[in-house]
């Protein structure tokens, strides 16, 4: 873990900026706002947050599925944001994505063999005559059988389709995979199958994951480090154990306390000290001026008293509060 595989610096993805031919200027949605993080080779970085916090958009802008409006994404020393057209397409096999919806992400008119074979064909990873055999190899690797190759996506269940989506990603021979809520559309008993599969593949193929999810328990299980996002910004970033055992940011603290644990005794204990957040997430069209979390923060007064800082006007810096533990909160500056 010396050099980061992927280095994201000051990345912003603002939607709706006035551009193009005869288009009226629209209101700008700051889906991702000035985010910096590193993903190290061989690790799993978890990215958690509630819906609309920009975690999916961040994943997609790292992979250049959206063109970021500002910032850089260094992949092994190359800035992907600067790449265009063919140069970018040629590199795409190195970083792949697993999608949330196993139904929408597979072309219904293509056979499984063609879906999985497509990246091999596009990037000429194997001679054309060997693609079929390679597809079958990958099918077995993700726990399916070679008979599946000649069938269509609609013949499979959600879990099986997600395996096909994973197989398509692997077919490109990537070393970095962004998994965008890969299990949230699946049933509980199937989720564990996919998590185990992803972990096995990681150790077999030396993959690096950016694992996006809203379920903190799942992310804690699979990740080495975790980043918590809120309203387009990263609020806290550290190793998965510290985030649970010693969360620094008030948002992380209340998020953790809101997640139910499947244990009735523990739940009764936790209920007494539960920090119920008031209100709702502000609109990303019109985020608060200061700290993104200031409208709901239960510790705002504390900051004002101890530091004489008004959170609603002054935005905190994302700083290293402890070695390896980054957070964006005035309490730790």
């Amino acid at each position: 873990m010396t050099e980061p595989l992927v280095q994201v610096k000051n990345l912003s993805m603002h939607f709706g900026q006035a551009s193009g031919f005869l288009k009226r200027p629209q209101r700008v949605v700051k889906a991702v706002d000035n985010v910096s993080l590193d993903v190290f080779e061989g690790e799993t970085l978890g990215l958690v947050g509630e819906s609309g916090c920009g975690k999916s958009t961040l994943g997609r802008s790292i992979l250049q599925l959206y063109k970021p409006t500002a910032g850089t994404v260094q992949y092994r020393g190359t800035d992907l944001v600067q790449l265009e057209g063919k140069a970018l397409r040629k590199m795409r096999n190195r970083f792949q994505m697993i999608y949330q919806d196993p139904y929408a992400s597979l072309n219904p008119r293509m056979k499984i063999a063609d879906i999985i074979g497509e990246p091999m064909y596009i990037h000429q990873l194997h001679p054309r005559s060997e693609i079929r055999a390679e597809v079958e190899k990958i099918l077995e690797m993700v726990g399916l059988t070679r008979e599946f190759a000649d069938r269509y996506p609609h013949e499979f269940s959600g879990g099986q389709r997600q395996r096909i989506g994973i197989a398509r990603a692997l077919a490109a021979q990537p070393d970095f995979i962004v998994a965008d809520e890969p299990i949230s559309a699946l049933d509980v008993s199937i989720q564990a199958q996919i998590i185990n599969l992803m972990r096995n593949l990681q150790s077999q193929l030396k993959l690096t994951y950016l694992f996006i999810a809203h379920d903190l328990a799942v992310v804690r299980h699979i990740s080495d480090r975790m980043a918590v996002m809120y309203l387009g910004k990263v609020m806290e970033l550290t190793d998965s154990n510290s985030i649970y055992e010693n969360p620094l940011h008030p948002y992380t603290q209340s998020l953790l306390s809101a997640i139910p644990i499947p244990d009735p005794e523990k739940e009764r204990e936790r209920e007494a000290n539960r920090v119920l957040l008031e209100g709702e997430v502000p609109s990303p069209e019109n985020p608060p001026k200061g700290c993104a979390f200031c409208t709901r923060c239960p510790r705002k007064q504390e900051v004002l008293k101890s530091k004489q800082i008004d959170c609603s006007t002054q935005a905190p810096q994302f700083t290293e509060a402890k070695p390896g533990h980054w957070t964006a909160c005035h309490l730790y500056t």
């Binding site: 031919f21 599925l65 096999n93 994505m97 072309n107 219904p108 293509m110 490109a172």
Partner: protein, 291 residues
């Protein structure tokens, strides 16, 4: 909910099942098949050539003469033969028009929908203008500039027909390109053209095919109408519309001259409409597409 574990049949099999349970669609299929058969084998099926004139057998009523079961027209041509050849004209014009409409409309609509921007702006405005202009007047204008004839009719009708196909293709591509599998195709490094041809167009085909099949009766009717007005195919080619038009002077006595080609037009249009509706019900069970 409860259906998540039921067996899923393939889309095509499902469509065939829905189609074969639709009685009207089957009638349509039969009628269309019959007309196509007549059109293809007109040379073998008709007792006489369409332009063979018998000066001594002018204006025979049906069953008057053993060799002309449906009588003859005002210049002594076998009416049955002309009706059969009329099917050929009708099919040739309507199928060519829809084929050309597909060949022009599909790529233009797909490009506009996929690439958007200035290209889409220009194409959409052309479509708007063409839609706002009365199609019939437009067609007549072109024919009067280019002169009559089968080719002119086909060109003139194609110019107004591709708009429908382009509009539907554009709308389809606009929705489908937001589908996750298109993002996924971009993610594996597929080129724009590959995404368009491998991923978008195959998925957009059902509604486009429905539009084409429902466009055929429109074209049949347009050809018949133009021929009736004397703007259609040139003599001596047989056309149902022209036959109705020519019967004008004699219809009070020789009723069959108007009735038979009118029946032919009606049955063919009915056949294609039933078939098109059947296809729509089969391919688009949720009735999302409006033509």
């Amino acid at each position: 909910m409860s259906n998540s574990t039921t067996t899923r049949r393939s889309f095509l099999k499902d469509a065939i099942r829905r189609f074969s349970q639709n009685r009207l669609a089957l009638i349509g299929l039969f009628l269309v098949g019959f007309i196509l058969f007549l059109a293809l084998f007109a040379d073998l099926l008709s007792p006489f050539a369409y332009d063979r004139v018998y000066f001594d057998r002018v204006l025979l009523m049906p069953f008057d003469h053993p060799e002309h079961p449906l009588g003859t027209d005002e210049v002594g041509r076998d009416y049955l033969s002309r009706l059969i050849y009329g099917a050929r004209t009708s099919m040739l014009v309507s199928l060519s028009v829809q084929m050309i409409a597909l060949l022009i409309g599909l790529p233009i609509g797909a490009l506009a929908g996929y690439f958007g921007g200035a290209l889409d702006f220009v194409i959409s405005r052309i479509i708007d203008i063409m839609t706002a202009f009365p199609a019939l007047l437009f067609t007549i204008l072109i024919i009067s500039v280019l002169g009559g004839g089968m080719l002119t009719i086909i060109v003139a009708l194609s110019i107004s027909s591709w708009i429908v196909i382009a509009r539907i293709t554009r709308a389809q591509v606009l929705t489908l390109r937001e589908q996750e599998y298109c993002t996924a195709a971009r993610g594996i490094g597929a080129s724009e053209w590959r995404i368009l041809f491998r991923h978008l167009i195959p998925n957009a085909m059902s509604p486009i095919l429905i539009a084409v099949s429902l466009g055929i009766p429109t074209a049949i009717f347009a050809e018949a109408g133009l021929s009736f007005l004397g703007l259609g195919v040139n003599d001596p080619i047989a056309s149902w519309g022209k036959m109705v038009g020519a019967s004008n002077a004699y219809v009070q006595v020789y009723w069959h001259l108007a009735l038979l080609p009118t029946l032919a037009i009606a049955l063919t249009m009915l056949g294609f409409s039933f078939l098109g509706d059947g296809l729509r019900d089969a391919l688009d069970p949720k009735q999302k597409i409006r033509v």
